[in-house]
Amino acid sequence: MTGSSQPPILKARGITKSFGGFRAVNDISLDLAASEILGVIGPNGAGKSTLFNLLAGALPVDAGSIHLAGKDLTKARPEARILSGLGRTFQIPRPFPRMTVLENVMTAAQNQLGEGLFSALIAPRQVAAQERTNVVRARDILDFVSLSHLEDQPAAVLSGGQRKLLELARVLMAEPKLILLDEPAAGVNPALLDLIIDRIHAINKLGIAILLIEHNMEMIARLCPRVIVMAAGKSLAEGAPEEVTRRADVIDVYLEGMPA
């Protein structure tokens, strides 16, 4: 299934979720190799973002199981999933608007000593030392996504594309093994698009697996050797992007979504 001999970093089986009587995600199974980029495409309302919410723990699954690097995360809280290495970004970016860009990134560091109420009080030296290490890393990441010049600005001033980059920077700060990217190019101006594609490529080269929801087919073609097509909550097809997009049933579900 994975086209690679590595053991899967993500193993999801039979993921299912209903809202009321409506099945938004219906029996989805995924295997993702440790260095893979897997595309998730499909018309609006297919259940792609809901699938991400289930994998990241923002919503509980009705049925199915989720394993990350062999660890069962099916019932884990979102905080525990990111700590285990499963990070996500949001389709509509969710920056902390009144915090600076640098603070937004710093917040995402895991295992922060100073986040404990008591250690923040009784171990100021250790906290300061960890902050100094983290701030160096946060600035490297901001350089990487070309947001360094904005580090002291409140995140509220960022443009749509810059917010997407900040989402990316924050999740990188958490040192994930797998990142779920929800439409990282939606609403981004074409000049930033190349940068985002290039950065996703670079992240993957570091050995971080990526699950990528995207409507921009150029981006899918450039980044994903393999995609799955979702429609009405189900997995409709799977394979190389240029192959699946030629299939009649895939073309049909896309045309159904178009205005008549």
Partner: protein, 321 residues
């Protein structure tokens, strides 16, 4: 001299309110937790500390004659513990449960103060609570001045502690949760835990304020801890500037000044038989003040400032144009 002694007395009381207000600021200003039972936490601190530090009395249990400092610590533990319990029970649920629960607890505690005579002295309250610097009680100026200094030191300590926390990674995570809970959680922050911690910290500070107040005045009674006190503290925080620790202190002093002055004025202007009714004018005056502030400066006199974590000094930007 007498006037100075009175000024010191007035300021000391105002500063005990400043401590309560700092406690509310952690809960509401920094975390958005709606506590409508402030008087309960303050009263709990006062009674716990009084029970531990008063001399043995025949008519009630307690009276352990312990040092004042121990009473303060016990008050903080009791207030923090109560807030922790309330937090554990309600902070997983919708936010309005917290308001209902805190209100209920304050009412219940007030009834306990009023009715468990063997513990709290009932309606008459508790007297002979040891006062700091009591050896100087004969000299009003020195006594009030030293107590003012001590209370100011407590305010300063609370202020520095809270400012330190605000700029620590803990404060940063708390702000992140307040700005966007879903995003903070996706980045590994535990919103429920952070809220419970902030609520317990605020509760401990409120109870400390109750103990400081009780020891300064020397006696307490259940009538001190009515919902009116909760209203006053809320007015103080809103006037001073919710989210701003200096605003909390300023608001406490200002609102208390207006409260005390209007009270004095009423007792001058109105004949004795009308004064009980005229006293409600004080509430009207505070209410009007609240409206004026909300219209003129909705964020309070000292609005919340954007605080940034320590250790994040500005990067040298001389390379960039």
């Amino acid at each position: 001299m007498e006037l100075l002694a009175y000024a010191a007395f007035f300021l000391t009381i105002a500063l005990t309110y400043a401590i309560i207000c700092l406690g509310l600021n952690v809960q509401w200003g920094q975390t958005g937790l709606f506590n409508v039972g402030i008087a309960g936490f303050v009263g709990l601190g006062a009674y716990v500390s009084a029970a531990l530090t008063t001399p043995d009395a025949a008519e009630r249990i307690g009276g352990f004659d312990l040092p004042i400092a121990l009473g303060w610590l016990a008050a903080m533990a009791a207030g923090g513990g109560l807030a922790l319990a309330v937090g554990l029970l309600t902070l997983r649920m919708r936010s309005d449960y917290l308001a209902i629960t805190t209100f209920g607890i304050a009412v219940a505690l007030q009834l306990v103060f009023q009715n468990t005579e063997s513990l709290t002295g009932g309606a008459f309250g508790m007297a002979f609570i040891p006062r700091p610097f009591s050896g100087l009680q004969g000299e009003a100026f020195a006594f009030n001045g030293l107590n003012l200094a001590l209370t100011a030191a407590v305010v300063l300590a609370c202020y520095l502690l809270l400012e330190h926390l605000l700029r620590s990674p803990w404060g940063r995570a708390l702000r992140a949760v307040r700005e966007d809970e879903v995003a903070a959680q996706a980045l590994g922050k535990n919103p429920v835990l952070l809220r419970i911690q902030a609520f317990a910290l605020g509760g401990a500070i409120m109870a400390l304020a109750g103990a400081v107040q009780a020891h300064f005045i020397g006696f307490i009674a259940p009538g001190n801890y009515l919902p009116m006190m909760t209203f006053q503290v809320w007015a103080m925080l809103i006037v001073g500037g919710s989210g701003n620790n200096r605003g909390a202190i300023l608001g406490a002093v200002l609102v208390w000044a207006i409260w005390a002055l209007s009270g004095a004025l009423i007792s001058e202007v109105f004949p004795a038989d009308q004064q009980a009714r005229a006293a409600s004018l004080q509430i009207v005056i505070i209410g009007v003040m609240l409206c004026v502030i909300l219209l003129w400066r909705p964020q309070g006199i000292l609005p919340e400032v954007r605080s940034v974590s320590r250790h994040l000094g500005r990067r040298n930007k001389d390379i960039k144009p």
